[in-house]
């Protein structure tokens, strides 16, 4: 209950800040030494919240469905892509982390490339992957690949740290029980890695959302919120509130994914206390 209230309070404050800035801010923006330090507060740059709400209720095109339905549909579509990318990325990250923990040579050989992978600009990568659409996989799946590409990284790195976290005494204890690598992994390393895994998963969730939205923008994949942002922003000249409706949708999507990932924690983190006894 308190959490719900605090979320509502947060939204209220954000809304007040928006309208408050519009009320006191210079419509031309504040320029210091030729650099705009504060944004313009005019209706073209920052439409009133009421205008945006109106726009959500109004039809997208004359006689069409209301904007909120279109935005919600797009959110659901992108949520699907994000979920696919997140699951695939998390699995790949897990497997890589386990492989890197098991064999130092893999860690030495692979870790630099795992880090390097995140420095490849998405702009270069997206057209390449988009080319698979309709050939190797459906077009939406290429966007999921981009999401997975961003999502696997925090899991691989975080999980590796986690798997390496049990103390030497814990590992030796397992050895004294004649537990093999697999046993040690399941009984000791996985439980010990959980506190590292969840922050990593949260990062991966955020990365998957970014990957899905940017991937859609980049490849022009139809149906999702990224494409909608680009389509609505083209109309920003005459209909500035419209693009904000799509951005609200993207924000909603981010919140949904964050909530879903933190829900994952609830059943798994119950083990945690039990684990600590073993590791210490």
């Amino acid at each position: 209950m308190r959490r719900v209230l605090s979320v509502i309070a947060g939204l209220l404050i954000a809304g007040l800040a928006w309208e408050g800035y519009k009320a006191v801010g210079n419509p031309e923006g504040t320029v210091l030494f030729g650099v705009r330090v504060l944004p313009r507060a005019d209706d073209l740059s920052m439409p009133h919240l009421a205008t945006i709400a109106d726009r959500l209720g109004a039809p997208e095109l004359a006689g069409g469905r209301p904007v909120w339905q279109v935005v919600l549909d797009a959110c659901v579509f992108t949520l699907g892509i994000t979920a696919a990318g997140f699951v695939a990325g998390a699995l790949i990250g897990l497997v890589l982390a386990v492989a890197m923990q098991r064999f130092r040579i893999v860690e030495r050989g692979l870790l630099p490339y795992v880090i390097l992978s995140q420095t490849v600009p998405l702009v270069a990568l997206a057209p390449l992957i988009a080319g698979w659409g309709g050939v190797v996989m459906p077009p939406w799946a290429t966007v999921a690949v981009i999401a997975a590409y961003l999502a696997f990284f925090p899991v691989a790195v975080g999980m590796l740290r986690g798997l390496q976290s049990p103390s030497a005494s814990g590992v030796e204890l397992m050895r004294s029980y004649a537990a093999g690598w697999w046993r040690t992994l399941v009984k000791l390393r996985f439980p010990a890695a959980l506190p590292y895994l969840f922050p990593a998963l949260r990062l991966a969730g955020a990365a998957a959302v970014v990957g899905a939205v940017v991937g859609e923008i980049s490849t022009g994949t139809r149906g999702g919120i990224g494409r909608l942002i680009i389509e609505y922003s083209r109309e920003a000249t005459s209909d500035p509130a419209k693009v904000y409706t799509a951005m609200l949708g993207a924000a909603l999507l981010g919140l949904l994914v964050a909530a879903a990932v933190s829900l994952l924690e609830v059943p798994l983190m119950r083990h945690r206390r039990h684990v600590e006894v073993v590791t210490l």
Partner: protein
């Protein structure tokens, strides 16, 4: 034993990496000319479905491609999709692209040829407020001039150079977004706009002072066609290497024939074509789409030499500007004259003949543009 296990897992790990990063799959374009069955063709467009591509959409919808034995799939573009690259990589059979940009890709090694210059004229404007006194390129001196960059700016730069303005010194260049807010907010004095898109967006916006839509009288237009610095835009590009193959040659003629039919159909049925584009799921409103259709028709028709036939003089002007005009970073589109088969009229001439025989008006001499009223937000 231990060693083999290590190697096995290294192999496993590398397979995973490959699965994660991957390499582009080479997709073989299906051999054309199979008798009986339709030949599948992929056409890469520059952007999302809009009336700019209405001719191709209509040719699919009205079955013109099918009559030629082709099963054409239109592929939408995206922010990072470069049609001529997609074509050169063999992921599409034909692509629609602007001539200067495609020539730049050619210089970097893309093996592509202009086989049909669908848009004979350029649709690029520089738009200013009517009360600013900017009417010609020469008036831009000392002003804040918006431009899109990324190779979309060369008509503007050539026009300014021609008018005796040094684009590097005499104007303040501003990188412009793909909407017209900067002009409306008077952050810039003149903005780049396509006649069929951004200019229409201005006329769909409400003037806060009057509460009514802006009108054409509020703005003045510098048209690069009249300034003599226009460059060729939308053209159909084919894969140069494959043009050696007689089957691909035939297929190209057939493809162009149906494309001509599609554009002729949209000239005569602008409203029907607008509806086709909307049915394709375009998010742009009805009146905007009709405006775009009408403006695009103006860029094509009348086509004295037949639609798509490349005009030597216009081509030369495009190439000259591409080689000589420098943008703000001192780059020109091309460093040398295009080598090899940059364009050919061989196929379009055959296609024009074929279309004519089929009773299609390929010149559109009688074409008269309509007057389109734009609604707020293009609705």
């Amino acid at each position: 034993m231990r060693r083999t296990r290590i190697f096995a897992s290294i192999i496993a790990a590398s397979t995973l990496i490959l699965a994660g990063c991957g390499t582009a799959d080479e997709t073989a374009t299906p051999a054309p000319g199979a008798s009986g069955a339709l030949t599948p063709i992929k056409l890469q467009l520059q952007w999302f479905y809009q009336a700019q591509f209405a001719g191709y959409i209509a040719a699919v919808d009205q079955g013109f491609y099918k009559e030629q034995g082709l099963d054409v799939e239109l592929i939408e573009g995206g922010v990072d999709i470069v049609p001529q690259t997609v074509l050169a990589q063999g992921k599409a059979d034909y692509a629609v692209a602007w001539v200067p940009k495609a020539l730049a890709s050619r210089e970097q090694g893309a093996g592509i040829t202009d086989v049909g210059q669908i848009f004979a004229r350029s649709g690029t404007y520089q738009v200013a407020w009517a009360d600013s006194g900017i009417k010609t390129a020469a008036d831009l001196k000392g002003k804040k001039v918006g431009n899109w960059g990324f190779g979309n700016e060369f008509e503007l730069f050539a026009g300014m150079t021609k008018a005796g303005i040094d684009p590097g010194k005499d104007v303040t260049l501003v990188q412009q977004q793909f909407d017209m807010q900067a002009l409306l907010k008077k952050e810039i004095d003149a903005a780049q706009a396509m006649s069929y898109n951004e200019y229409a967006q201005l006329l769909e916006a409400k003037n806060p002072a009057t509460g009514k839509l802006y009108t054409a009288a509020d703005f003045s237009i510098i048209d690069w066609k009249t300034e003599g610095s226009s460059m060729l835009q939308d053209a159909v590009w084919a894969n140069t290497e494959k043009l050696d193959d007689p089957a691909y040659q035939q297929q190209t003629v057939k493809f162009l024939t149906a494309t001509i039919q599609g554009w002729a159909f949209c000239r005569d049925n602008a409203e029907k074509c607008r509806d086709l584009v909307i049915a394709k799921g375009s998010k742009l409103g009805k009146s905007h789409q009709l405006w775009q259709m009408n403006e695009v028709n103006k860029l094509i028709w009348p086509a004295t030499g037949g639609i798509g036939v490349i005009d030597e003089a216009a081509w030369k002007q495009t190439v000259d500007i591409s080689q000589t005009t420098k943008n703000q970073t001192g780059d020109s589109v091309l460093t040398k004259a295009p080598e090899g088969l940059a364009y050919t009229n061989d196929y379009i001439n055959k296609a024009v003949e074929a279309a004519k025989t089929a009773g299609v008006d390929v010149n559109g001499t009688g074409f008269a543009p309509a007057t389109v009223t734009l609604e707020e937000g293009g609705a």
